[in-house]
Every structure is written in structure tokens, then in C-alpha cells.
């Protein structure tokens, strides 16, 4: 149809550009600007502090703790959640496996539930006076009092991790199922005829064939680990004494509960840079491997 008039392009692209710029791009840059000031969000932003907020960020012990938790979540996702998702994908992607569709549908279900509902439900499960933990404990140790897993600084992060795996493994499984469908069935059959073991077939045919899916799910789970908020918030807001804190819950507390917008902005910028640096390295790594 040849060239489009400026008016046509403006009508088509204008609304999206305005919406996206106003609510995504400008706020992100504003956060960067705030990060150099001490400001409570009211009145003019005049108290310029240079890199002071960043220095505070590096020294802040709660930041260290929170980032360590995020890292732990990422590691557990990679080491536990993704292999579990892969195992289940291998099982239920086989259409001759009776009930595969049912299992698939059911395993994905937790992903569709809201994070808040999931979090509150698990608060009950962990509740020392009512929940599942109490029932299990009463069965194993009839005399002992059940532990409050979410109320104890040494267990809360692990309790949260269980919920994270529970909620998200189905998502990764679904990505893997989609990836498995792209692997030519003949290759797998051929390997079988050649007498390759299942293990061998998995490592030399199936896994390489699923490269894109695996890369994608690794990417999602690491980025997701550093952005976790809702579930943690619904399971005790990162408490007790920051033992369940993630970097985003901490940012929320600093920015919108203590109204230290400047330092909150600094934390936001650092979250962004962590994601960006990871993204750049990850892409580089993948390019090199190809």
C-alpha cells in the first residue's frame, strides 16, 4: 500500500506511545533522578545528596540480607524447581501416557491463582495451631509443640521458598512441554533403536533440542527471583526482623511506608541494574555458546 501518511501513523502509534512513555519510561527515569536526593515525596526535591544514597545502599545490612534471599530464591529455582519441571514435562508430554492432559492442566493450576491468595493460604498451612504443619507434627511428635515456620527467623525464607516452587513449577513445565513438541520424534525413535539409554537420549538429543525453552525458563526464573513481592508480602511482609525480606519488599517499605523516596529510588535503580547486567551477561553467554 506504499507509504503511510503521518496522520495514519500518529493515530495508530500515538496512544501506545503516550501510554507507554507516561507510565513506564518516565517513571523509570524519575526513579533514577530521585536516587540522588533525600526527599519524602512532598514539597520540592532540593536536598541533593549525590551518590550518598548509593553508598548507603552498599553498606545497608538489610539490603545485603534481602539480596542474599533473592539469590537463594534464584538458586533454589534453578536447582530444584527447573529440574522438577523438566521431569514432569518429560512425563506428561507423552500423549500415550494416560491422564497426561489432566496432569498437565492440574500442575499448571497454582500458577493461575493470585500470589496473595496463595500466600495467605500457605500462612494457614504453616499456622502452628491449625495448619497442615501442625497435623504432620502431631503425627510425628505427639508431645511437641508445632513450630511457627513463618515466625522463626531461621525458617521463614525456606517456608517461602516451598511456596515459590509450588506456585511456579507448572509455568516452567509448560514452557518445556512446548519445547519438547519441537523435537522430531524420529530422532528419539532412532536413538532408541540404536540402543541408547533413556538418560543418554535425554542428554544428547532431548536437552539440546530444547535449548531455547531452557534458556527462556532460566531467564524467567532468575529475573522473577529478583522481582518477587506479592507472595512474600502476603506471607508476613518480609518479617520477622527482615528474615524473609526480598529487595522489592524492602524497597516498598522504604519508599511507601517510610516515605524515603530518594533511597527507595536508589534501591529501584539497583534492582534495574541487577536485572540489566544479568540480561547482558546472559545474552553474551548464549551468543558465545552458539
Amino acid at each position: 500500500m506504499g507509504k503511510a501518511s503521518f496522520l495514519t501513523l500518529a493515530v495508530l502509534l500515538g496512544p501506545a506511545l503516550i501510554l507507554f512513555t507516561a507510565f513506564v519510561i518516565i517513571p523509570v527515569f524519575e526513579a533514577a533522578a530521585f536516587s540522588f536526593y533525600k526527599w519524602n515525596g512532598l514539597g520540592p526535591m532540593v536536598d541533593f545528596r549525590g551518590l550518598q544514597n548509593y553508598a548507603q545502599f552498599l553498606k545497608d545490612l538489610i539490603v545485603h540480607k534481602a539480596l542474599l534471599h533473592n539469590l537463594l530464591i534464584a538458586v533454589v529455582s534453578l536447582a530444584v524447581e527447573l529440574p522438577l519441571a523438566m521431569l514432569l514435562a518429560l512425563i506428561v508430554s507423552d500423549r500415550s501416557f494416560k491422564g497426561s492432559i489432566f496432569f498437565r492442566t492440574f500442575f499448571f493450576l497454582p500458577y493461575v491463582l493470585s500470589e496473595v491468595i496463595t500466600g495467605v493460604l500457605w500462612q494457614f498451612i504453616y499456622h502452628p495451631q491449625y495448619g497442615l504443619v501442625k497435623a504432620v507434627w502431631a503425627f510425628l511428635f505427639p508431645q511437641a509443640v508445632a513450630p511457627a515456620l513463618l515466625g522463626n527467623t531461621s525458617t521463614v525464607i525456606w517456608a517461602i521458598l516451598v511456596v515459590v516452587v509450588w506456585k511456579y513449577f507448572g509455568f516452567h513445565m509448560t514452557i518445556y512441554i512446548a519445547g519438547l513438541q519441537d523435537i522430531p520424534q524420529e530422532q528419539i525413535e532412532a536413538a532408541k533403536i540404536d540402543g541408547a539409554s533413556r538418560w543418554r537420549t535425554f542428554w544428547s538429543i532431548i536437552l539440546p533440542g530444547m535449548r531455547t525453552s531452557v534458556q527462556l525458563s532460566v531467564f524467567f526464573s532468575i529475573i522473577g527471583s529478583f522481582q518477587l513481592f506479592d507472595i512474600v508480602w502476603a506471607m508476613g511482609k518480609g518479617d520477622p526482623v527482615n528474615a524473609g525480606e526480598t529487595i522489592v519488599t524492602y524497597m516498598y517499605k522504604i519508599g511507601l511506608q517510610r516515605f524515603n523516596i530518594g533511597y527507595g529510588g536508589t534501591i529501584a535503580v539497583c534492582i534495574f541494574f541487577i536485572c540489566l547486567v544479568f540480561n547482558v551477561f546472559y545474552q553474551k553467554l548464549l551468543v558465545r555458546e552458539d
Partner: protein, 281 residues
């Protein structure tokens, strides 16, 4: 041959065993929630796992009749916010994706790259300035103040899905449409949109689910109880009924139902959008 058969039978047993364990792991919390809603607090304390005996339907009845909490109002709010976000994303996204997919112009790939930046910016990074900005625009505590940011943050991903699909529409169709006298908008509305119902459904359903479950944006924007969505309602209800866990569980169960129904009926679109689009993108 016989040993192979034994082996594959054994393998099947192992597979079903693994699936059964996962089934239990997922089902038990859901079972606890549904059944817990039918128990009295005393039953809940004595028998957290068992089937309630007798069943107390009072919690569910109270919630559904509005004697306790405000389930229907919060459900309604979630529906309004969800559909509003879907409408904005579909309208704005279809227009922009059409231009990016099918109109050659100088800044095309630059603009697409600009929108793709959105994939790198999580909502969390923007949340503080967003709050201040909504305050400046007087959009705090308004529905549109939740709908617009939600739509904006959904846009990058959805543009990717839509653009990919629109690119796949054959050029011959466009030429034929031109011969029939359709302009760009005629082609968009009469050919592209009708051909794209599967991808539009995917975009719509994913946006709806994301909005439905979103807690961060409404938490930021809404102040008055009257506007709370379901996830906020759940948190608020829990704050008020701290020890009435039977009530809370009944509320949770009711709040889960719409998402589960939506999932069962729209599973195809949800899975396609989350995986197909992502894997090919």
C-alpha cells in the same frame, strides 16, 4: 522382548508415582482451603485435615450474602479493572502492533525497540515515581489510575505477540484488499482483526489473568475500601478476622473460584500466550 515390557511397565509405575505425589502436593492446600471453609474454629483446631463433621456452611453463606466481608463488591471491582485493562491493551496494542508489523516507515524498528524496553523494566522499579505521578495527575484512588499503568506495563509483551502474528498475514491479502478499495484502516478492521481472533483472545485472557491477580498496583493506588479488588480484599479480610481462619479460608476459596473457572475454559489461550509466543519471540 519380555524384559523390555517389564521395564516399560516399571517405568509407567514410576511415572504415575511421581505424578501422584505432585498431584497430592498441589491438591492438599486446595483441599484444606475448601474444607476449612466448612469447619468451625474448634473443628479446625482439632482436625485440620479431616472432612468437616458436621459441615458448617455458615461461613460461605455469610460471605455470599454479604453478612461478612464484601465478596461481591470486590469481585465486581476486579471484573471492572480487569475488563478495563483488557480493553485498553487490545485497542492500543492492536493499532500499534499493526503499524509496527505492516507499515514500513523510517523509525519502525527503532520504535519497536523502544517498546521492547518495557520487557526490561519491572513494575517494581517504577512503583515509587508511579505513585507520585498518579498523585500529580489526581489519579490516586481512581480505577483509571490502576487500569492505565497495568495496561502500560502489559504492553511490551503483548505488542510482541500481536506483531508476530500480524506479520504472518500474507501480503497477497493486503494487495487484494487494496484492489477492493480498502485503505489501511479498512484492511485492519475487515481482514486483520477477524483473522487474528486467536491471538487477540490470547492477549485478552493473559491480560485479564495478570490484572486479576495483580496486587501491587491496586495496593499503591486504592485507599477506599469500596474500590478494593479481590487480592486486596483478601489481605484486608485477613487483617480483620485474624483468628477466624474458617472465615478466611472460605473467603480464599471463593476468591479462587473465578480464576479457576477462567483457567479451565481458556486454558488453551493462556498456555499459548505464555509459552508459544515467548518461545518463538
Amino acid at each position: 522382548m519380555k524384559s523390555l515390557k517389564v521395564e516399560s511397565a516399571l517405568m509407567a509405575v514410576v511415572k504415575y508415582f511421581v505424578c501422584a505425589i505432585m498431584l497430592v502436593v498441589i491438591a492438599v492446600p486446595l483441599y484444606i482451603s475448601v474444607m476449612g471453609g466448612f469447619k468451625s474454629t474448634g473443628q479446625l483446631r482439632a482436625e485440620p485435615m479431616g472432612v468437616p463433621d458436621p459441615f458448617y456452611a455458615k461461613q460461605y453463606v455469610d460471605l455470599l450474602t454479604g453478612a461478612q466481608g464484601s465478596f461481591w463488591r470486590e469481585l465486581g471491582n476486579s471484573v471492572v479493572i480487569g475488563l478495563g485493562t483488557v480493553a485498553v491493551v487490545i485497542a492500543v496494542g492492536t493499532f500499534a502492533a499493526y503499524a509496527l508489523a505492516r507499515i514500513p516507515f523510517k523509525l519502525n524498528s527503532l520504535l519497536y525497540g523502544y517498546f521492547q524496553l518495557g520487557l526490561l523494566f519491572p513494575l517494581a522499579v517504577a512503583i515509587l515515581p508511579l505513585y507520585l505521578q498518579l498523585r500529580t495527575f489526581k489519579l490516586l484512588d481512581t480505577r483509571i489510575g490502576v487500569i492505565l499503568p497495568q495496561a502500560a506495563f502489559q504492553l511490551a509483551m503483548m505488542l510482541m505477540l500481536l506483531r508476530g502474528f500480524f506479520k504472518g498475514i500474507p501480503d497477497e491479502l493486503e494487495e487484494a484488499a487494496a484492489i477492493d478499495g480498502y485503505g489501511r484502516f479498512g484492511f485492519l478492521f475487515r481482514i486483520v482483526v477477524p483473522l487474528s481472533t486467536p491471538i487477540l483472545a490470547t492477549v485478552g485472557v493473559i491480560t485479564l489473568v495478570t490484572s486479576w491477580n495483580n496486587f501491587f498496583t491496586p495496593l499503591l493506588v486504592f485507599n477506599s475500601l469500596k474500590k478494593f479488588t479481590l487480592p486486596m480484599g483478601v489481605m484486608d479480610f485477613m487483617g480483620q478476622h485474624a483468628s477466624d481462619w474458617n472465615m478466611i479460608l472460605a473467603f480464599l476459596t471463593l476468591a479462587m473460584v473465578p480464576a479457576v473457572i477462567l483457567y479451565v475454559f481458556c486454558q488453551k489461550y493462556i498456555v499459548a500466550g505464555l509459552t508459544g509466543g515467548a518461545v518463538k519471540g
